[in-house]
Symmetry: D2
């Protein structure tokens, strides 16, 4: 095993709340993407950020091609993301790029596209938030590495069941909320050659992305979704005109 | 258990090969949809057929709303199916309509939409076809009811691995081809409230839809994808503004 | 579809708490098995009960052979169940008998045998119990038929994650506890030709088996684990000395 | 990421065919365990071998405790493996030791214990063997790293469906046989903290363990089943007598 090159991580954020809402600005002066980038600074990642209002909505093909793992945070501007951008991200995931979908990204065109469902759920944005307790369901999963059996997010937006997703390949975390609901808060999926990790804790008006456990989960998620394979093709439409030789 | 009403089945066929190709016309004088309808005549189904060249591409909302299980056969005209039609079928599946996707339907917009992948595979259309042996992998599955452990399709288009789909919920059949390949030829998936069954044997230039085992599988697939639930809503975006009372 | 014969249900209970503990006797004067039998009386089931202290520990081969679905409740006497009895139940499940494992049955030899794990979990038996909220995770599952999105068990023993089981085939229910934990409280598994449903709410010192939602879940579980297949063999060790003919 | 210590691999072989059968002796003069050890020599593994006729059947607790990944080959002596030995291996797997089960190990007490089923299958031992074509079903799986889309085993014992196992977590390989059958020949399972990989190609009278693709799969399987986690406990029976504080 030779030394591994740093994982090339691109953190995409729609970054609209940050332009309008002073509370969000106060909590995330560098933007949600900036907070996550800061949190992950001590990992062996090469981090870039991108936002919706940049050219090509922040994600030109060249950047995607140079990205091992993409993080996605969106909320109020899901509808503005162009279908062509969703197309090219989807194809990169199917070709092996890792994807970490954060919080309200569950309703993004991208996540819905990859799931095939509406990805609806129950939700509550209480003024002071709900206490969320995040339980580790699969303690030996690499994404749970270094975490306690349970950690708390003091103020969280509630996301509850039923969550309209296909059966996840793995459930790493399940959450309890003080208001009475439960949720599959950390799930993995494989699509094509790519790995996807969805993690729900994280909200624009709560300082969740400054929480060290949350950041550890996201960092572990990046490492887990990173493919070891060098093959960067999609699974192809493979014409095999000739039968194999009879024995 | 009171007597059940007949399952309302709609067999959709793009029905283009039948308009152009005399070989297909000879094998399927009633169209592929007609052959399947004929095959299923002795089941307790209320069968309607629909084709691409009908108004609203054969699937107006009213017909979808009156359909318990939809069968889908398409091939050369996948691109012509309008996104809006795909949207409304998808929402009906998520609300509980059963869906049976046949053969080359793997590449339809509809199936790709529901899978989140390209649904590519390996394939070979040999002049005389491949001998396909369809093995029952899960003998106690309702879709395998009444079938022998293996049945043969004398001339088949080869569909082989790797098949770019998410992990199926269940693998009911796996196929062997004389040309040397293998395939997960009968798979189930749940999306939203709906059940999906994909079954690969079936091709326009081979009389596969006249085979009694193939027809039995399709009939079983209709019964299995039929929901027992009366609830015809999608899983909703459920706002729960109030916390539940503390104990 | 002809009329179905009633499902032959055997409710097995170790029935030891009932012999010693006046509180249990008061709550379950007919025993836990009796309470469940009473609850299911209006279903189209042919119900028998069996207990550990009967000959052959209540489950002679003839009774197993005449049982479509077995319910299992055990707790303090798991170790007394003979390995030979476990062997024959396991083989009946693999041959297609349905199995509903209730509450502390998670630690039975039988459930551990079928799971291949220790089936450990977190637990708390608080004097007044925890409030348990049971959420429906998969609303279109037959086991969830007729239930509200969430129902409460006012006083419950807490069973929490991590639950040491293989990934379930389906998660139908997840629970929230007032003490702060979460749990996959309703899970399905297939083993051989048999279907297994584990449902955790239910405890000897709380009147949970008098709750109509709990009873509805158990009744639905019986119907779901019941095989439609008539084949009553195990999946065999199948010697196939001859190759199939070459095409 | 610091440099990783070599994986401590123990290759266990019942090693009985080698004592009796001159053909096996000729093909595997060092035993099947020796051939595999030789094949894996260029991997960064610390390899030990163990056999049934050694004290404590080759697997004293101290060796298991010093083993990261165990390989298991058995056939004619499954019944001789003591239940106590199976117990302690199972507990080590549940505590995180990796396990690679080879070929006829499908019928070992150990594999059956971990699956909860009989693990029966169809089989044929033709004099010259069947040609087996091993197809990669999940090309981006680490166990498939460095392999072609398909590789052949010129002479193989046929193992066919239906294979009586719980649904695998992942299917990495599927096989085609010249005699007409198909098989899920490479499957992964998680049990407790441990990872299990079953791989079917391999037989005492064919030189399959000298095949470089087969050896590559086994080596990849060792790396994949190796836990990154340092936690060496089983998932425990976790008494939590106190509720968490109310928010």
């Amino acid at each position: 095993m030779s030394a591994r090159a740093p994982i090339r991580v691109t953190i995409w954020n729609e970054a609209r709340h940050e332009q309008k809402n002073p509370i969000v600005q106060q909590i995330y002066p560098l933007g949600i993407h900036g907070a996550i980038a800061q949190g992950l600074a001590d990992r062996d990642f090469l981090i870039r950020t991108a936002t919706l209002d940049q050219p090509e909505q922040g994600l030109p093909q060249a950047l995607l091609d140079d990205t091992d793992v993409l993080l996605w945070w969106g909320h109020i501007a899901h509808a503005e993301v162009e279908d062509g951008v969703v197309d090219r991200i989807q194809q990169r995931v199917l070709a092996g790029m890792g994807l970490v979908v954060l919080h309200s990204g569950h309703h993004s065109k991208l996540f819905r596209r990859l799931m095939g469902t509406n990805a609806n759920l129950a939700w509550r944005e209480a003024p002071g938030g709900d206490l969320e307790r995040v339980w580790v369901v699969e303690p030996s999963h690499p994404i749970a590495e270094g975490l306690p059996p349970m950690f708390e997010v003091a103020a969280s937006e509630m996301y509850g069941e039923p969550f309209d997703i296909p059966q996840p390949d793995e459930i790493v975390f399940m959450s309890w909320y003080s208001g009475g609901e439960v949720f599959r808060s950390g799930c993995t999926f494989k699509r094509g050659r790519g790995r996807i990790f969805f993690f729900s804790p994280g909200h624009e008006t709560f300082p969740i992305y400054h929480d060290r456990n949350v950041i550890k989960v996201i960092g572990n998620g990046v490492e887990w979704t990173m493919q070891s394979h060098s093959d960067g093709r999609i699974l192809e439409n493979w014409h095999r005109p000739e039968a194999l030789p009879s024995p």
